[in-house]
């Protein structure tokens, strides 16, 4: 009964989405405030209805309703409760439902917090948002319905893929979707502005908080995915240039570019056409990502043929929205006037350079991901595009960008003083050289590239802090005065510093973990000892255990340094009888910012264990840095000048349409 209620709510949400697609749009065309006023309540109700549908599906999973096909295929009565809940989106149908739930959440947020928007713009934005919702609701109801019952319910389900029975599934997909789908808001704003023919600095100001929110979720989602891969896959890698990862990196790069170009548009009324194009591209690439991951085109091109309806449906949605938006852009972009004027050496100039490099980097990821698919479809030639390709193309594009990042916030608008900025960055430069020299002495100067990479990370962090120090006049005025200035800085200024420093930490983590990792791959027996990074690792023995829905073979290790026991590590192998599959659980021990990673290969019956032990110096910075970046975004978002829902009672009176 509850399931049918959810199913019905979903159909009703579709009907409402159709109304929200058309009525406010018509109102915008006719300039009728009564029709425009339909949009906000429709958006909020739509969110409630999809939320109801989602809750019904969660309820079915939690109560093991095996009369539902979706539950049978992805659940099991013995599965822990957490995974019964997260398993709701650990499958195609449920994950698409989560997708539209988040889409409607964003729509409802615009309706609820968009009180400062002009009614016409808000109506158009919500209308465009509803077009996307309509397309995906139709997709769910007709090709991927999670509410299908089966005639003869089995007594037990097929269980969830063991790899997904992990806390990562609870965090990673929702965060990533908040990022992907959050891009739909800036897309809707761009399309609405193109239809309206009105784009100005105020538009950029309205779009920026939504873009910032999407960006920070995307950042966290990608970092979480990377960490999940790191601890699950069992060999200590954290980025594989896998098409699924690339699918999330493409919109991230474009959203990052959009954030920066929107600043130029907001402050200087320049780069309007470009900013609108980026807003369209960011969501387009999110859709491409959704298509790549959901259609099955990636596992193999043949898997696509086995589910033609779904793949072609998403492809059609993709073409409709990307093609439609880009056509609209081509048709209307010329009507937008270019704005402010500035010298090449200026804050604007630096942000344009940022956009140029980010766009080229995004193009590299797009082409590296799609080219093999296109080439095989067109000529039948199969090629692989992997890490070595991106090391030769992506890295040379990103390194110059990272080098100039500290300059950007120092440069003045309109006309900057490059020499003056260089002087102000001398301290940061000196710190960088010093740390590089120390690293060269400690690690040996054999790996020059690694030392340079380390320097790049330090440069970013030191450069970001130098900018903050300059702003508060640290050193050039009294300490009390600096503190007072620090307290007076807007939060968005801190946001820039923190995000750029976070980027530096990510670079440090990646460089250090790739260049200075050490590994031991060997066969050990109980009682044997090996050493890594100055620590002795002793294999004590193998234990057999029974888990909730698996059998586990755990190998016990003692980690000691100079005879003093530091910690124990217990990597294991789990067998899931229902699916007949096995997972490897690595043991990861964190020592300050570095990690010891112990993973198992074969565990023979005679006690011989294949062991992989890695020492990953500073590896945690890779993800901590991303969290710091996202925190920078959050600081900026909390700046009261940007706050979406800042209450301004006096405005209420003005907003009431004259009737």
């Amino acid at each position: 009964m509850i399931v049918e209620l959810g199913h019905f709510a979903l159909v009703l949400a579709l009907a409402l989405a159709l109304i929200q697609s058309s009525v406010p749009f018509w109102g915008a065309m006719q300039r009728d405030p009564r029709l425009l006023a339909v949009a906000p309540p429709a958006a909020i109700t739509q969110f409630l209805l999809i939320g109801l549908a989602f809750a019904a599906l969660v309820q079915a999973h939690v109560t093991d309703d095996f009369s539902l096909l979706n539950v049978v295929e992805n659940s099991h009565s013995q599965k822990p409760l957490l995974y019964k809940v997260t398993g709701v989106w650990g499958n195609h149908e449920g994950s698409m439902l989560l997708w539209v739930l988040i889409l409607s959440l964003f729509g409802a947020s615009v309706a609820a917090f968009g009180g400062n928007l002009p009614d016409r713009l808000r109506g158009l934005v919500l209308s465009v948002q509803a077009w996307i919702a309509t397309a995906f609701l139709v997709f769910i109801l007709f090709t991927s319905n999670p509410f299908l019952r089966i005639e003869r319910p089995p007594a037990e389900g097929n269980d969830l893929n063991p790899v997904l029975q992990d806390i990562g599934l609870a965090i990673h997909p929702p965060l990533l979707y908040l990022g992907y789908v959050g891009c739909s808001i800036s897309f809707a704003f761009a399309v609405a502005a193109l239809i309206d023919g009105r784009i100005d600095a105020a538009w950029a100001r309205w779009v920026r908080p939504w873009t910032l929110a999407a960006w920070l979720f995307l950042t966290l989602g990608i970092a979480m995915g990377s960490y999940w891969a790191y601890y699950t896959l069992g060999w200590g890698g954290f980025w594989f240039w896998d098409p699924v990862e690339n699918a999330s990196l493409m919109p991230w790069l474009v959203t990052t570019a959009l954030l920066h170009s929107a600043i130029v548009m907001e402050k200087r009324d320049a780069l309007k056409i470009w900013t609108v194009l980026l807003a369209i591209l960011a969501f387009s690439l999110s859709l491409v990502g959704t298509f790549l991951v959901r259609s099955g085109v990636l596992t193999s091109v043949h898997a696509f043929a086995s589910s033609p309806a779904r793949g072609i449906f998403i492809l059609a949605i993709l073409c409709l929205f990307i093609g439609g938006a880009l056509s609209l852009f081509a048709f209307r972009a010329t009507t937008l006037s270019p704005g402010g004027i500035f010298a090449p050496i200026s804050r604007e100039g630096a942000l344009i350079l940022n956009n140029l490099f980010l766009t080229a980097a995004a193009a590299t990821v797009v082409v590296g991901t799609l080219y093999p698919l296109a080439l095989e479809a067109l000529t039948g030639t199969r090629i692989s595009v992997g890490a070595p390709f991106f090391n030769l193309t992506f890295a040379p594009l990103v390194v110059p960008l990272l080098l100039i990042v500290p300059y950007g916030p120092f440069l003045a608008w309109k006309r900057g003083d490059l020499r003056g900025v260089t002087q102000r960055l001398m301290a940061a430069f000196a710190v960088t050289i010093l740390i590089m020299a120390i690293a060269a002495v400690l690690a040996g100067a054999t790996n020059v590239l690694a030392i340079l990479g380390l320097g790049l990370g330090v440069w970013l962090v030191a450069g970001a802090l130098a900018e903050l120090a300059f702003r508060v006049r640290l050193g050039s005025s009294s300490f009390g005065e600096s503190l007072r200035r620090l307290a007076g800085l807007p939060r968005s200024a801190f946001g820039t510093t923190v995000a750029h420093a976070g980027l530096g930490l990510v670079v440090l983590g990646i460089v250090s973990a790739s260049a200075w990792s050490t590994e031991r791959i060997l066969t050990m027996r109980p009682g044997e000892t090996t050493t890594i990074a100055g620590r002795e690792i002793k294999l004590d023995g193998v234990n057999q255990r029974q888990g909730a829905n698996y059998i586990e073979k755990a190998v016990h290790f003692t980690v000691s340094r100079g005879g003093v026991v530091e910690t124990v590590a217990e990597p294991s192998k789990r067998k899931f009888p229902v699916r007949g599959s096995e997972t490897t659980e690595a043991a990861i021990k964190t020592f300050w910012l570095s990690q010891l990673y112990v993973s198992l290969g074969d565990v023979a019956d005679d006690g011989a264990v294949t062991v992989r032990i890695y020492w990953k110096p500073l590896v945690t910075l890779t993800w901590l840095g991303a969290i710091v970046m996202a925190f920078g975004g959050l600081l900026s978002l909390s700046d009261r000048r940007l706050r979406v829902g800042a209450p301004r009672p006096a405005r209420r009176v003005l907003a009431v349409p004259a009737e």
Binding site: P118, V293, I352, T381, P490, T583
Partner: protein, 162 residues
């Protein structure tokens, strides 16, 4: 099958837990083993999703790792080993695709984007040179737009610029 395929994708596209290179495969000579490891990171396990044979635990990856080491022990140079494997499995095994008529676009796009973008920015900046002083008065069109904006709504919270 479709569901399984999707789940594998969601799980960052790996086929089961990776065990990668195992001790019994490794060569006695550390120099040769280091060469083998370096080569393996650039070779694709062809049944996996963009995984190198160095990282994959698939049987095929194991077979290629063993084959690769056999060639190294037999005295082949790195180039000869790669040539041997490409002759056997095709370019698909290379994670760094060769530059040829079919892949030239792939290799060109990253730097062409940078170049074209740079040229585009240069032309755009020439078209609106700095010397052309910004108009100090509002044009008739702008005045109307300003009035419309003011009449229609107020801008977002806070002052428009700092």
């Amino acid at each position: 099958m479709r569901i399984v395929a999707f789940i594998l994708l969601l799980a960052w596209a790996t086929i089961g837990p990776a065990h990668a290179v195992t001790p019994d495969e490794m060569l006695k000579d550390p120099g040769q083993e280091a060469r083998a490891r370096a080569l393996s990171t650039g070779l694709r396990c062809m049944v996996c999703q963009n995984q190198s044979i160095d990282d994959s635990d698939a049987d095929l990856a194991h077979d290629i790792r063993v084959l690769l080491r056999e060639r190294i022990v037999a005295g082949d140079s790195d180039d000869a080993v790669i040539k041997f494997l490409v002759a056997r499995y095709g370019d698909f095994i290379l994670l760094k695709p060769p530059v040829n008529i079919e892949t030239i676009l792939l290799w060109a796009v990253p730097f062409a984007t940078l170049l074209l973008g740079g040229v585009g920015i240069f032309i755009a900046s020439r078209r609106h040179p700095l010397s052309a002083a910004p108009p100090t008065t509002l044009s008739e069109d702008e005045r109307r737009r300003l009035q419309r904006l003011l009449a229609e709504d107020q801008p977002a919270p806070g002052s428009p610029s700092r």
